[in-house]
Subunit: 326 residues, 2 copies
């Protein structure tokens, strides 16, 4: 099943999108918003799925062409966005480039930060930036949305709470990070609004590519029309999503609509390219002694997408331009 | 004006509470929830205020006795909870006790962390804890709720976006903090659900005690019936709420219903006591060489309240017991 939110008031209007992303149909009579659907998922998801099946079979009235530009992020605002850092070789690389070693515990204890969730960008919305000198970067990731998760859930039990999957552009302001992390309280100003793929899909849509709580397909990133990277999201993911959900729930319940991110996708195989500029710059530092690729400038365009083996887009495309704010 | 949310589904049911906290009246015909009211504050707050005036004048039908035990936190779940650390002498003390100096920049650049907001505790709800060894602590704070705040707002303009005030118990798991902060991404497991006062009030309710974007009254904390501290929230607050809101909005818009906390209230005058156990332990370390006061154990009860000069409770009382989870 594929779901999206049309731009409409603050929480969007729920629609169902056909498997091929060509057609859509209103679902707001079943649940006004995706958050409403997640709040009562066991009851409402069978109704949504029945309409999804009818849409794919051309047996539904009122369908209309699907337009990703009309979409907000699937959850235009959410009650929780917690982002992991599950591709540990990426973390190790970032540290190596600045001459720091990585604690061994990073291979067994997930990194995770609490991100802002009160106002996400839409999948085709500009990234408005006050200052190019802040070092704006994209981070291409995959993410899950959960229903209610009880505190202290085991990884085994956590996997059944994963209801939807999405792609993410976790926008980062690299030059604000060092001074902010030095204060010891984590990211705040350095992590502005993220954007999510036009469509959120149930795990069964991935067929055999959803296995062991990982998405086993390349995540394709383009910068100004050139491929920047396409690492496989299922390779080198040290912590799978059930482990990330369990980590988040160690000392608290998680509310329905909680979004958990994978962190920047990264493969040890360097031929796969990178999912953020910072990683490419680290590789340049290691190879050439200095970074060559600048961070995003006004007018730069980044896109993030994932195709199945037959070349069909699964989540629709995130595509954003960096613009000057104000 | 004083507002509260009766426990009802996930987002509560909006009620208006009389100034003396004795009576209440339904407001869900004006706005179903407090979030709904904040989403359209300019239009809806005059209607709420008219009913509040009628309630205080005994000119309203359908009023009922106000019961804080029937209340969720004013926002039972929120899209953003950002907690500052505005009482910098508290931060300095914590560092001094572990032999660390504090960077000078802490006096000019606010500390702030992104907290979880998907499931707050109610003002009289137990703190369910998996393990006493995690070192559970209370942190008594004051907080504001904003409407929509534009990115890059000035502190001067930020103050007009402060719509409501509350008290907070920012629950912390002290013994999980060192290893979590050492990872560099800030708090996550060490900051479980916070609880807020039964009632949120508009700044005018504070009369002359709301000045310079600070609350100038003692914040009273009791532990198992004994006074633990009562420092004045208006004294030694290095960053006022307009500065904290502007800090949060430096690189992003803030959505309506954003909650910004002050951090643990603390006065340089030690006779005022402390608003968290950790601070008292730091003073014990400095005075006696070792901490004496244990963190919270199962069965411990903490309460947080603020009275005006005439002894009337302004926000109602947070009162919580620590219990074993599961």
């Amino acid at each position: 099943m594929k779901l999206a939110s049309l731009k409409h008031r603050r929480d969007g209007k729920l629609i169902i999108v056909s498997r091929d992303l060509r057609q859509a149909v209103d679902a707001s009579d079943i649940a006004k918003t995706l958050q409403d659907a997640l709040d009562d998922w066991d009851t409402l998801s069978p109704l949504l799925r029945a309409r999804y099946d009818a849409l794919n079979a051309d047996h539904v009235s009122g369908r209309f062409p699907f337009d990703p530009f009309a979409c907000a992020s699937p959850l235009p605002r959410a009650f929780q966005w917690a982002d992991g850092s599950a591709y540990v070789n990426h973390v190790e690389l970032v540290r190596k480039a600045r001459g720091a070693t990585m604690p061994e515990s990073f291979w067994t204890d997930p990194l995770m930060y609490q991100g802002m969730s009160d106002k996400f960008l839409g999948p085709r919305e500009d990234i408005a930036l006050c200052d190019e000198a802040w070092g704006c970067d994209f981070e291409a990731e995959v993410a899950v949305i959960t229903d209610d998760v009880p505190m202290a859930v085991s990884p085994q039990d956590a996997s059944q709470h994963i209801k939807l999957l999405m792609l993410v552009n976790d926008v980062s302001l690299r030059n604000l990070i060092p001074s902010e992390l030095a204060k010891g309280f984590g990211f705040f100003q350095s992590k502005p609004a993220s954007a999510f793929s036009p469509v959120a899909v149930t795990p069964d849509e991935l067929t055999e590519h959803w296995q062991d709580n990982k998405i086993h397909l390349p995540l394709e990133v383009n910068l100004n029309g050139d491929q920047f990277g396409a690492p496989d999201a299922g390779v080198d993911m040290t912590f799978d999503f059930s482990e990330l959900v369990a980590h988040a729930a160690k000392s608290r319940h998680l509310g329905s609509g909680t979004i958990i991110g994978s962190g920047t996708v990264s493969n040890l195989d360097r031929s796969k390219g990178s999912c953020c500029i910072a990683e490419r710059r680290m590789l340049e530092i290691l190879d050439l002694g200095a970074p060559q690729t600048p961070f995003l400038l006004y007018g730069d365009r980044v896109s993030i997408e994932m195709h199945d083996k037959e070349g069909r887009s699964i989540f629709g495309k995130i595509e954003q331009e960096v613009v000057s704010y104000g």
